[in-house]
Symmetry: C2
Subunit: 502 residues, 2 copies
């Protein structure tokens, strides 16, 4: 042992590293983890007994202003805070009477898939590991479901917003060649087409890709909210005469407003004749391919050049999970491929596994969202998932029939799929019907009875009931109808507020 | 009771809906869920005892070719297949000797946060619910950490690829005005700047946004791989003379190759003087703000107009989770905002909660990735997470010292942060050093000893050791050095293959 230098004792050298972030006491930690799991399971099991939505109290809102924690807390304390301030105040989409926007309801098995994925913590950007093969399997399942050829490529993404962005970007490459990646779109006059019912994220994709929203021509729709083919043809011809380069037509397989499905075979024919890329936004509607009786509604989807769809909507995979398929897989790689030296592949070892998913889309780091999709498909099977989709459409028809039969309700649009747009009408009331219907929706939500949303159809506000919910039963819709009527009477001063029971 | 019509008994009417996808037997299902959780916990606890990576056997690969399941299986069978064919064959980034690319190692608490999020199944696109407030809290934490003002906005995204894309898109709006959304970029001559070490996803962002990769000027770097300010100034001046419109400079806070940090204060000064948007890619390096001794390395980051960074790298949040901050929050909304009638907000009820996150980025449907981030920060606290970052940098310096001291190893680049690029050198060997070093890496991986990656620096291949791993200890790097040397001797025929123990 050497002597300490003069002047005092040596400071002990600090250890090179502190302990890992793993639990110090695994057994104690495990107990807490199981408690958390039990609480989450209880909550899902009992969800229907609670309100469809509850407002977040102001004191809880204020609690979210706390600054970045400098010191840690035991996991039990972290979970307790989450349990008390977050879990009871979700948006409500697990509830059988959550009928707003287009939300999936989640499943326990999907949650377990996500748990396993988070434990494995894989990065699906590329490299050679089982998660990559599993994601390829999921892509192949949906490639086959949608009738795409084996030369198609695809990958999982956050959702259809990103999937549509990828579709538009590949279409841009198809029209302008891969040199568009180097040179940009300056000097090009690309224009695309979709119905005036197309989801807003398609215009956003035109915006982000530098083509500009004006380059997406919105074509009028018929009384069933489907694109008018003659109007589309006229728009293409006019653009060609004006020196634009038509390059893309987007078909809607289930519009967000009413569930309308564009005439996909005619769009496919037209795209072929005009030399346009045919992209389909099948966010939720495309999945009716799983229900044999409904699949003919989206005939022609198998002719798309690219297809965007979601797993977190009508397949109830926990958020977020969408998919993109591209018929010509090589073109997808030509659009997004190319890696720097620090991402070089190798013939063996961890850096194998070509092709890497980062060459097929925007993200290099990618979570293992394929696993929760795989769990969902394996646990329930295509038939049952398809049956639940058919259930939802049958429920929509049931609700539409109830609306038609009710003197104080009216349908605001045809019901081709799973969406019912309706209005409460008070014939002897001079007040603004839009404001009244909007107020009814807010009251339904505030009281936790049900969560429909609203939309605007032909310049009038409608109550929009969207059924992408495996827990919804006919009795839930009976309650919804009674509640709309009772709140409508109440708001128009024709009845006292009264409890609306099941 | 009415009589059946003539001709036979009535078919009973099918029920309107089948049962939900919830477990039929909750108790039995719960047992399986707990088994799954235990197995995942065991695996994380014991990860260091296994190999850093193991190749996926061919028979398991072949199993992933099974078609879309038509019928479901019990959750226990689904999990058993995942446990046997997926979980042992991850990319390896939980292992203490996973030192490749830039992967986080994950934490148990982050996994539990993801479990709770998947159970709640929230969609964070917008609306009024606790998850939205929690994500805002996480954004505020990092806004404060990085010294951004309260007027800043931001949101969580999949990772820095998407965060950089958002940053470039907002910068485009700043330069061209919000009309660029309608008109596109045709007619604009925007050009941006970054060092030749910038991550490939920045060029990809230029590509996707229609500006083109050529519009990103790659500026030479100094011997420490930092951008050369005089060369940058010259490039800007040349572009202005040629009629281009310089609009953006990207600073690297930790390059992927070597961890180099650009001179951020000088870049901020230059951006201010030239009227450019100053975006910082701080994917992992930005997080040294959490380690007081290292924070000065990224001084100037608080002057960025936008900042991209990841939670799934140096904060070990399970994949995927990144973030974007924009100093002028209103400009972020001006770039991505605007919603269709079916997404209208409301003064009360579920459709409240403005501003909606979908107005700040690409995605409308968004998972609750904020919760796993929140769990991680709450459980460990900023101090400890910062200490682990400092640990990793100390380990990198330790490894660099060992490399310098070894006659058969050489450093390929300075080590400013957590990345060590090195080469095995066999002075008396005429073989190609690049091929030899690549082969050493593959062998290290194949044998499960360690997983470094490779890169190319000054046209020579280097073994790249990246330490963003809370489990790595000095002994792991000792083993790595011994293994590189032993495999190097073996591959150059100077020694037999011998076991390399810990």
């Amino acid at each position: 042992m050497t002597n300490p230098p003069r002047g005092g004792p040596v400071e002990p050298e600090p250890p090179l590293t502190s302990p890992s972030l793993d639990p110090v006491d695994w057994d104690a930690y495990r107990v807490e983890a199981h408690r958390l799991l039990d609480a989450v399971l209880d909550e899902i099991r009992d969800v229907a007994a609670g309100p469809a939505w509850r407002p977040l109290p102001d004191d809880i809102k204020a609690g979210f202003a706390a600054p970045l924690p400098q010191d840690g807390e035991p996991i039990a304390a972290v979970w307790a805070q989450c349990r008390d301030t977050v879990m009871p105040y979700g948006v409500g989409n697990r509830h059988p009477r959550f009928l707003g926007w287009v939300h999936g309801a989640g499943t326990v098995g999907g949650m377990l898939g996500e748990l396993a994925a988070a434990g494995l913590n894989a990065n699906l950007g590329g490299r050679d590991h089982a998660p990559v093969y599993l994601e390829r399997q999921v892509v192949a399942w949906f490639r086959d479901l949608f009738g795409f050829p084996e030369t198609a490529a695809g990958l999982l993404v956050t959702g259809t917003s990103t999937a549509n962005l990828i579709g538009v970007t590949v279409a841009r490459t198809a029209a302008a060649g891969p040199r568009v990646r180097q040179h940009g779109v300056a000097g090009l006059r690309l224009v695309g087409y979709a119905s005036d019912q197309v989801h807003g994220c398609v215009a956003k994709a035109f915006d982000i890709t530098g083509l500009g929203r004006d380059a997406l021509r919105l074509i009028p729709t018929d009384r069933n909210f489907r694109i008018e083919i003659p109007a589309l043809q006229a728009a293409i011809a006019a653009d060609r005469r004006a020196g634009f380069q038509p390059f893309l037509v987007v078909g809607c397989a289930g519009t967000v407003n009413t569930g309308a499905i564009d005439p996909l075979p005619q769009l496919a024919d037209l795209a072929a004749a005009e030399g346009l890329w045919f992209h389909v936004d099948g966010a939720f509607g495309g999945l009716v391919r799983l229900a044999p009786a409904l699949a003919p509604l989206v005939a022609g989807i198998e002719r798309a050049d690219s297809l965007a769809f979601d797993f977190h909507k009508w397949l109830h995979v926990p958020y977020d999970a969408g998919g993109i398929l591209v018929r010509d897989g090589a073109l997808q790689v030509a659009t997004f491929g190319g890696r720097a030296p620090y991402l070089a592949g190798a013939d063996g070892g961890t850096a194998g596994g070509e092709p890497w998913f980062c060459d097929l889309g925007i993200d290099l780091s990618r979570g293992f969202r394929a696993l929760k999709v795989w769990f969902t498909l394996k646990e329930h099977g295509a038939r049952r998932l398809g049956a639940k989709i058919a259930d939802n459409c049958r429920l929509a028809a049931y609700l539409a029939a109830r609306v038609i039969a009710a003197p104080d309700l009216e349908l605001a649009a045809p019901v081709p799929l799973n969406i019912v747009c309706l209005r409460y009408v008070a014939p002897d009331d001079a007040r603004d019907g839009d404001a009244l219907n909007a107020a009814i929706v807010v009251e339904l939500q505030r009281r936790g009875l049900a969560v429909p949303s609203t939309t605007v159809l032909e310049r009038r506000l409608a109550i929009r009931v969207n059924i992408t919910n495996h827990r919804t039963q006919a009795a839930d819709l009976d309650l919804l109808v009674r509640a709309i009527q009772a709140i409508g009477r109440e708001l128009t001063g024709r009845a006292e507020g009264a409890p609306i029971g099941e």
